[in-house]
Symmetry: C2
Subunit: 416 residues, 2 copies
């Protein structure tokens, strides 16, 4: 996937380093590919390194020469279709800037490898890393261009219209919930199926479960996002009312739904769920609601957690998402080559009848550690479904399928 | 999907009726399409009805004229790509044959609609229905040809090399577990992920989780099938040994694994799992083992139930499975038109280097209510993984992808 054509005006000679951080997505390697493609536009970028396990790989000097690993068009394509961070990932919150010893260690590695360009592909926390590293560079005068590139299935980053990885996750969630709704419709016995979807703080991905309805296909009867207060009474009344008219109810809930006191429905301390050793544990929201319906209504009820496949289903990629993910990586490289630093590459949705985006950049300090939630206006008044307006915002992001490579009938993955 | 060319020798004039029964699969509608295609080869089959919700629809006379609903090549193709029984399903164990009132009721409907051909697409229990109905017809001399057509993701039917629907479920399971293994590999923190796969009595589908390993891709470290006795000590020793050499372990377990006493690992009465109201409930095998590892090893551990998508993932169909599912339906129609009854259509795998099958039929009484398990020889000695021999039996069934129709980026389903 290509299609970008950038004019690189300013070039500084040196090496580049790329890291991936936070939870995996199905598109994070497409962005990695894009950054490499963008950097290769410039003859003055000598070596392109990858850091294994994000910032941990910088500190531990587990760098890999990506020039050795990614050589052909087939390599790029396979990398772009491979889910989960090919360089490995980490969850590492950097210390405050006055912990100079830590930062000196990082920049010694930058210096040793002559790193003049550093790219970090990640979410909220990773942008905090970009912010701190670029501030430290500015403070010390170390000549480096540091750019953050977004990635998260949660779609909850500020400053960007949407995030790479969200479109593929949304396509997977929408298709899977549509199929579950179809599956559940075959029996005449009264039954409730509750599907739990990722997104602890923002309901974008859960909202995607409603997309099939916009396309005339089977979809959930009720959808609960974290942005609307969850009310047990409204819930049970809605389910009972629906069961009067149809035998099979499908409900999509975000893992992060909360009651009026802000307590997570799926929180162990509230739910009192106990494992086989009598230990309390974090039962998911769907499982808590499953037990609640069994108690209150007594009908057949089943909790389904979509779980990890939401963030790594490389067999169900959105072409729009993967192409955009490559593009934003490539443009991030160009931003760095043009001399920008401390920046975050973002999508801007353009006005017009047809969906289109352009890629811009904003200071990373404006977006780090912030969460972009779904506007309450985009949820219905009762708080138990999403509006068509919200679905129409998401729909363009799931368009198109990717013809991913297979080996013997199974997805082939690129291993760095 | 087509490609069959049958010579229909004997024709009896009348109408045909098709029902679907048991748990949904992603291929059960491909078989429905095949039966209709096969029947349409004969001018003497007048109307083709579908019974809504299997035998319940016969009793309740909720029949639908499929000639009205399925008209164009596009209709057939869309039906073949649509998961879950388009006619609806039921779970209805027929009474003993001496309950003549029940059978008289069924055959009155057959008579009223001039049904001379009856097809039932289903699993073990559904073949019991075929067996009883054909015995009753024989006893009473009612002129009807009754054929059972296999369907189940569990692949556990006797008399057939494999079952329609298994190949697509196996492809989905293999691809998804491969992606989960890739996802889990990105972190360096010690962690165990346990993936629970359907198949209460037979481990065929769980075995498919090992396919990516045969193709050089990421795959589970341990695989437990119901056919080998599950031993907690072996389990924890294997996990501890593996964790010494690699940080991330992925384990595939069948929902039906049992201990030496034959007790299900995932059985509520053993596990002692309690829901938020203090009620015991059926915790899945993966969840029980998750708690067990947390207790014994104390590392990060996560249970993932693949749940309903295994049997309805129309977005991840095996082309081989869907084509064969159409073909066996069409051949079942031909068997009936040739005058066979009380039969079950089966796949016979032909000898030779390349995979190929032919379709035969066996008396349904020989297969009804029986379960075909995985031969213990096809599991490794320790009982914690599958052999390559087993994987090579399954591999041909997941070959090829289906270009399913989309509407606005999401799967389009056929609704009858």
């Amino acid at each position: 996937m290509d299609g970008f054509d950038f004019d690189v005006k300013r070039i500084e000679t040196g090496n580049a380093l790329i890291g991936q951080s936070g939870g995996p997505t199905a598109a994070i390697n497409a962005t990695l590919s894009g950054v490499i493609k963008g950097l290769r536009r410039s003859d003055n970028v000598k070596k392109i390194y990858g850091a294994r396990n994000g910032i941990d790989g910088v500190i531990g000097k587990t760098l890999v020469d990506l020039g050795d690993r990614i050589r052909s068009d087939e390599d790029y394509y396979l990398l772009e279709c491979t889910p989960a961070a090919a360089l490995g990932s980490c969850r590492h919150k950097l210390p405050l800037l006055d912990d100079t010893k830590f930062y000196e260690g990082v920049f010694e590695v930058f210096s040793e490898y002559d790193i003049r360009y550093f790219f970090y592909i990640g979410g909220n926390d990773s942008m905090d890393t970009v912010d701190k590293l670029s501030k430290y560079a500015e403070k010390t005068g170390y000549p480096i261009h540091i750019i953050g590139v977004p990635k998260t299935i949660d779609n909850d980053l500020e400053g960007t219209d949407h995030t790479p990885g969200f479109g593929s996750a949304a396509k997977y969630v929408a298709a899977t919930v549509e199929e579950i709704a179809r599956d559940c419709s075959v029996y005449t016995v009264k039954a409730v199926t509750i599907v739990e979807i990722m997104g602890r703080d923002a309901g974008w991905l859960t909202a995607a479960a409603g997309l099939p309805g916009l396309c005339g296909q089977a979809c959930p009867d009720l959808i609960y996002l974290p942005e609307a207060v969850f009310d047990y009474e409204e819930f049970i009344t809605s389910v009972e009312t629906l069961l009067k008219h149809k035998p099979n109810i499908v409900i999509a809930v975000s893992e992060g739904i909360r009651d009026a006191d802000g307590k997570y429905i799926g929180e162990g301390s509230q739910s009192g769920a106990v494992d086989i050793f009598g230990h309390k544990y974090l039962a998911g929201a769907a499982r808590v609601l499953e037990a609640y319906i069994r108690e209150k209504i007594g009908c057949k009820v089943r909790a389904v957690e979509l779980s990890l496949p939401q963030r790594c289903a490389g067999h169900c990629l959105s072409k729009t998402d993967i192409e955009e993910s490559v593009l934003i990586g490539a443009q991030a490289a160009v931003f760095a080559l043009e001399g920008k630093t401390g920046c975050f590459a973002v999508f801007k949705r353009l006005d017009g009848e047809d969906y289109s985006v352009e890629i811009g950049c904003v200071p990373v300090c404006e977006v780090a550690n912030k969460i972009k939630k779904v506007d309450r206006r985009l949820i219905n008044e009762a708080g138990n479904n999403v509006t068509d307006e919200l679905l129409r915002i998401i729909l363009p992001l799931v368009q198109g399928r990717v013809d991913y490579p297979e080996v013997n009938g199974l997805p082939e993955h690129f291993v760095i």
